[in-house]
């Protein structure tokens, strides 16, 4: 195997692939990535830890074809430090040894037999769907922060994706808060499909997805793949039943608060400077045309903030975890709706309605320990 390649192209690709390679405590070969030189297609890089796999094609001047598995992190680190723009890459396919060469540097790297490296699963097509990459990235970012990190309930450590007719929905929850988003599909999907995509995959996708272009999504019972910009991400799906999210989204409200996200965000941020020293609780209280945000910590002191609002309905108060509110405010813009039913009912945050799009975020309140229920 012999080829010349642009350092920047190779490094960028390695930087993507390395995220799918195993990091530790596993078969050594899984810490590697597979590199294949093909005169017609270019250089193919692929990494997988069996949970997630990423592959990528990049151009190169290929003199001799071949394939080899090389340790991913080391290769990435070496390429990053090389000073030349062009790198020459040669591999001894008998000894599984590669030589990385540029003007003043010459590295020999020991690798593995490519035939022992796992293939990526073939997600052949029960369901195929296309979506603008920017849109997919946006809906992922709108829900991904609600994923649970509690490994004892695996289904909550991923995002539920429901594809049905003209709509795609995404839901994530950690039992105490829930994010739900719904968008239109570009093409009508006949079959209903719901799958749970692991949190790690979702976070990788969010980093990799470009603003422009289209993503091809393929799903079968066990795997999902995302294809964009010569990159393919394949992931195992989480098995199990996602909790019934439809049941917990309230269909009524007693009051609606309309507020500018920026005002609310900075007020809650300031109040949480006090709250985070204790249990991170902020108390919200609507008083006609303003929302009062208070927090208290027995050691540090207390905070009082006021934000101008429009109120439809009666006044309310509710106590919530400040971080749950700040998480959602990070992904919202402009004016937002806060819908209330009571101090022990879900607190609902919505975008000011946009046609064909729907975003709902629920926070369960905190029942104050030393007060009677209302």
């Amino acid at each position: 195997m012999n080829f010349k390649i642009d350092k920047k192209d190779l490094y960028q690709s390695l930087n993507v692939i390395v995220n799918a390679c195993a990091s530790s405590n596993t078969m050594p070969i899984l810490k590697g990535l597979k590199l294949e030189a093909n005169k017609e297609k270019g250089i193919h890089l692929m990494g997988t830890n069996l949970e997630i796999g990423i592959e990528n094609w990049i151009p190169a001047e290929i003199k001799k074809e071949g394939e080899i598995v090389l340790p991913a992190v080391q290769l990435k680190n070496i390429v990053r430090e090389l000073s030349d723009e062009k790198i020459e890459f040669t591999a001894d396919l008998e000894k599984y040894r590669a030589e990385v060469n540029c003007e003043n540097s010459d590295f020999f790297i020991n690798g593995f037999n490519p035939e022992e490296y796992p293939e990526l699963p073939d997600v052949s097509i029960p369901i195929e769907l296309e979506m603008p990459a920017g849109k997919l990235k946006r809906i992922i970012d709108e829900v991904k922060f609600s994923i649970s990190s509690d490994q004892s309930q695996p289904v909550l450590t991923g995002i539920l994706m429901v594809i049905e007719n003209e709509k795609t929905r995404m839901v994530a929850t950690n039992k105490y808060r829930l994010a739900y988003t719904k968008v239109d599909n570009e093409n009508n999907i006949e079959e209903k499909l719901d799958v749970i995509i692991p949190g790690i995959t979702v976070k990788e996708l969010s980093n990799l997805l470009p603003e422009e272009g289209t993503v091809k999504i393929k799903v079968n019972d066990n795997y999902i793949s995302f294809n964009f910009n010569d990159i393919m991400v394949v992931s195992r799906l989480i098995e199990g039943d996602f909790p019934n999210y439809e049941q917990v989204i309230p269909d009524k409200r007693k009051s609606r608060i309309i507020v500018k996200k920026d005002y609310l965000q900075s007020a809650v941020k300031r109040a949480s400077l006090i709250a985070r020293n204790d249990s991170n609780i902020v108390n919200l209280k609507s008083m006609d045309n303003k929302l009062v945000i208070e927090s208290e910590s027995s050691d540090i002191g207390s905070a009082h903030e006021e934000v101008p609002i429009q109120l439809e309905g009666e006044n309310h108060k509710i106590s919530i975890d400040a971080s749950y509110l700040l998480d959602v405010l990070n992904v919202l813009e402009g004016e937002i709706y806060l819908d209330l039913i009571g101090a022990l009912n879900p607190f609902v945050i919505r975008k000011k309605e946009k046609e064909n799009e729907d975003y709902i975020y629920l926070i369960m309140p905190i029942r104050p320990g030393n007060q009677e229920n209302e």
Partner: protein
Amino acid sequence: MKNELNIIHVDMDAYFASVEQLDNPKLRGKAVIIGGVNLDNRGVVSTASYEARKFGVHSAMPIARAKKLCPHGIYLPGRHSRYQELSKQIFNVFLEFTPRVEKLSIDEAFLNVKGCHRLHGGSRKIAEQIKKRVLNKVGLVCSVGVAGNKFLAKIASDLDKPDGLVIIKDEDIKDILDPLSIKKIPGIGEITAQKLNQIGIYKIKELKSLNLAELIEIFGKQGRSLYNLIRGQDKRQVSINQQVKSISNENTFPHDVIDSELLLKYLLELCQKVTRRLRKQKFIANIVFIKVKDNSFHLTTRRITLNEYIDSTDDLYKHSKILLKDINIKKPIRLIGVGVAGFKEKRNEQLSLFNTKNKEIDFNLTIDSIKDKFGNKSIRRARDLLKKEENEKK
């Protein structure tokens, strides 16, 4: 500056056994062994009187083995409420001398007597008075250690048991510590001791030959404090907050258990006990640990730090079950224990979206109040009945 000898460690001598001998004069001068409740030979010794210790019986030894060593001994199940009652009186004596009392267990405490000398005399005098007061008021004998820090005070109280009073002055530290077995050091248990024995280290003097880096390599973070301890240095304060750090319960089975279903039933029962105590303290906890001892006395422990704080039976059961599954059980099990730590005061209740949890909270509180009113066996889970059946079969 010279260390002032302000730290006193008081340790009651053979506490449970002595209380029995106190309440029942016929037991005095006899080998009395307090151990596992109603479990015949399967429990372990919790306290042996000094008469019994002469036969080699010591705490944590299986009752069956104790009976071999000391067949004529008097074996009693223990009366914990009585021990608690006297313990309160003993601690009240400590508080006559200083408010700075750190409770280590039911029969053991550290006292910081700094600033009490004008009122009560020097540290030796205070130690003598404590011994006298405890004997007069409660009728029990204790051993007292006086030194400049907690580690040395605890070593001191152990040097001349029973009825001891030992003062470790700064100039004697080396002579006293060097010949002691490494097992006297808190944190060095049987297993660590064995490891050190393998590299020829039996005494503190020999342990001192390891430098700081070597100790850190062997013991991790604790290496540094160990390095200081064996040189007689200990910066820990006597902390007055007698906060509970963990709550746990364990159960030695009447018969070794191999059936995993039955094991889970015992686990559930323990989870109920632990969480009930937890709720009583109004704590929530984020660390769960279990221990399992097989019939060859091999002990395995597992612990996990959760992302959430829990206090419900079902949550503890769920997490401890995962820990249990993680243990590769090959032999029949004789003991299982479960516990929680990492406490936070339960002031505010984060409600859950999927309201099984909210119902569970009410459910647990209802069960607790029934048990408070009508006793521990007044209400139980259906799974517990299965366990009862199983036992009756055998």
